[in-house]
Symmetry: C2
Subunit: 445 residues, 2 copies
């Protein structure tokens, strides 16, 4: 076999990085569960027709075919890898509605795949963590206020740069656009969504072309998009623009509530930001986009919003609200910046040194006793000189080496960082709590 | 959207089952880490040529193609979904050898995919948990004895039927076949591997056809296959057959050692079983196959062995030993038999009742205080009558409902199973430890 190569867009972490990723997933998952979100994992594939419901991303789908597909197998049942966790979740809710309790709160942490062109240097496989709440027929509004708090808590307990969640409400934008006389608020939304990418000049042109906006209307749209506030004061700024519309008022009230709840729970977590549009058509209320402080130029690491028509079949309607967090995206940014580090490359806290091959059974018993008390332990692979065995531990960052005593003598354990060595009994000795598991820290932190 | 359907071979668990699966994964992972295995996750795809190295499974591969593949994109770089975790691991080791410390112990818990024909009713997507140890050039033997102990500990701590690991050694079979004069021991192995499926009569025919075995030679092969023992006594039974061969002796010594180590650590976990052949050509030493007691007729739930040539490129050789555990397979069996149950369908331990919508902020503070102390908490979705709010908790199996006190009165918390209700402060009250998380138990156990 020739030496294999990495594949562009399919990142793989080395074990130390994977330990950091796992620690992150564990904390996120624990936070989601503290909020009562139940775990869900959907299959990796969906029928192609399900995937194509979101027309705009259809080009990014990976389709599957069996290497030895039988003659005459049709494309009718073509399967594709899911490109997000929202479409599979909506499908799962419709398929299993009779077995679920509503409101249904679930989280889902899974890989997704996008058939991006290789040359674009984007991820083609990446890990997402999603939470959603869906209800039957009607969704109580408070879940729109709860979403950012969950994500704030999930990320706040990790050694990451602080997250800032930009919040807007579709009703604000759409109501405002209607209030100034634009007939196609969706087209205006899509134009404003491009503001960061193409700038106000091009957006003005786009608003004229696609939404039929006059210069004055385009200017008003841009003035709305400029409004942001770390509190509920955005409402006065909007009202100062003198536009009235019932949907606009409703949106302002909702957004004020989201900002008040956030301020009570996590001051500084959210900013009301009228330029957040979210390209996807299916959002109908609050929308979210989060960035990491210091990494704003790399774009958002979480996004989501309120939707009403994603999960519906016939008369059944399951409105919902959700946020997707890009775990691979965050780690890619932070690993790239060297901003995260882990104290060792293995879970092992103790290496049991092997005095001679004959004494392996005794060393295995020491290891079993330590493991039985929750202390990750390995026995040295060979009865090499102790210096070599200590280097084995050092190279991996294993903090403690256990030396079995000679006949009639006590065992000792050595902290190979400090050189401290003490007598120890595997039935009672424990490492300091901070050495029990590998420690993940912000580099330099 | 029409009501979606499940896809044959792609199982999806409901949240209560997913909670059971997660508890199982958590315990397995924790055990692997206690033994010092480092986590690894490889990309879901491999280049087709890598996947085809194991010729026998090539027919089961799912290939990927981008829905909007550009004209002129060749099949040269065709990617397929991995069908096991061994091939990707071998590739990863070769690709990253310079960054790894050897012996390298890793575990990997991931989905794999096989493009089985839909009508066969087999899993096409399933979860595997693998451990492997690889070393550079030479692999110390003791890892072959350690493997079953890790799996025994991983499964032993869960409410599952006990696992029985059948162990053999390729050197025993091959040495024996050579010792009786068969020139193609691999062919004999493949024939014996079919014993359980096709019976001794057909195996005798197969041995004649494919391995050129005489009646006497076939009989000897079958007599070897009949030997099994829960201890090291299999060695005397083999020697009583009167066959001598150096490889056979080496294999017997190794298998005795595996059985002795297992007896010292986990009595009853392993059985030496000479009919275990494992179809795959790449095994060179100890081989394993494990079944759940009471579910033997469904076949093995774990399998693996020692290999010498799986990860090698040019002069670099990384011999290893590993076991794959079929998590989806085990859960499919046990869910099918109704053998596992979980105490509630959500992580939530406490539902905070909502006296009126005006008091939501106070209820949110109670919930935040409980969550801050590690107690999974939800606030009721609406200020319905308390009877309805209690039924909300009951339906989900949430054991406690928290009632915020009226102005100047203490809060109370009610165990809705017993009806016991006590005054409580969210800063100090905790549920009994057994109610903190959903409890997974053997049904009826």
């Amino acid at each position: 076999m020739s030496r294999p190569k990495s594949i562009s867009g399919f990142p793989e972490w080395l074990p130390p990085q994977r330990m950091i990723e796992q620690r992150m997933i564990d904390h996120i998952r624990r936070t989601f569960e503290l909020y009562g979100f139940a775990p869900l994992e959907t299959r990796a594939v969906e029928p192609l027709d399900q995937l194509l419901r979101k027309g705009e991303t259809s080009k990014e789908v990976y389709l599957l075919r069996r290497l030895q597909a039988a003659e005459g197998e049709t494309d009718e049942d073509t399967l594709g890898l899911h490109f997000d966790l929202t479409v599979p979740f909506a499908r799962f809710v419709l398929e299993n509605a009779g077995k679920l309790h509503f409101p249904f709160r679930r989280y889902q942490i899974q890989k997704v795949w996008r058939g991006e062109r290789p040359q674009e240097g984007r991820y083609r496989e990446f890990l997402q963590a999603d939470i959603d709440v869906v209800d039957r027929d009607e969704l109580p509004f408070q879940y729109e206020a709860e979403m950012p708090l969950v994500l704030g808590d999930a990320l706040g307990g990790l050694p990451l740069p602080p997250v800032l969640i930009h919040v807007n409400n579709r009703k604000v934008s759409e109501g405002f656009y209607r209030g100034i006389g634009l007939d196609d608020p969706q087209a205006a939304l899509r134009a404003i969504d491009k503001l960061a990418k193409i700038g106000p000049g091009k957006v003005t042109e786009l608003l004229a072309e696609t939404a039929g906006a006059s210069d004055a209307q385009a200017k008003a749209c841009l003035r709305l998009a400029e409004i942001s506030s770390p509190d509920a004061s955005f409402a006065d700024q909007i009202r100062a623009l003198g536009v009235t519309d019932p949907l606009l008022d409703e949106g302002i009230d909702e957004l004020v509530r989201v900002m008040e709840v956030a301020a009570a729970h996590s001051p500084g977590l959210c900013v009301a930001d009228m330029k957040i549009a979210r390209g996807l058509d299916y959002y109908t209320g609050t929308v979210y986009e989060g960035t990491l402080r210091g990494f704003e130029r790399f774009g958002s690491v979480l996004a989501g919003g309120r939707y009403d028509n994603l999960a519906s079949a016939g008369a059944d309607r399951y409105p919902g609200v959700g946020i997707s967090l890009g775990i691979t995206r965050i780690l890619g940014l932070l690993f790239g910046a060297g901003a995260l580090t882990v104290s060792r490359s293995v879970p092992t806290a103790v290496l049991v040194a092997l005095p001679s091959e004959e004494r392996r059974a005794g060393c295995d018993r020491v290891a079993a006793a330590l493991r039985g008390r929750g202390i990750a332990t390995e026995v040295a692979p060979t009865a090499a000189k102790y210096g070599k065995q200590i280097r084995f531990a050092e190279r991996r960052g294993i903090p403690f080496v256990w030396f079995p005593g000679a006949e009639g003598e006590a065992d000792t354990v050595k902290d190979i960082r400090s050189g401290d060595q003490v007598e120890a009994d595997p039935a009672t000795w424990s490492p300091p709590a901070e050495d029990l598991r590998p420690a993940v820290t912000a580099a330099g932190g």
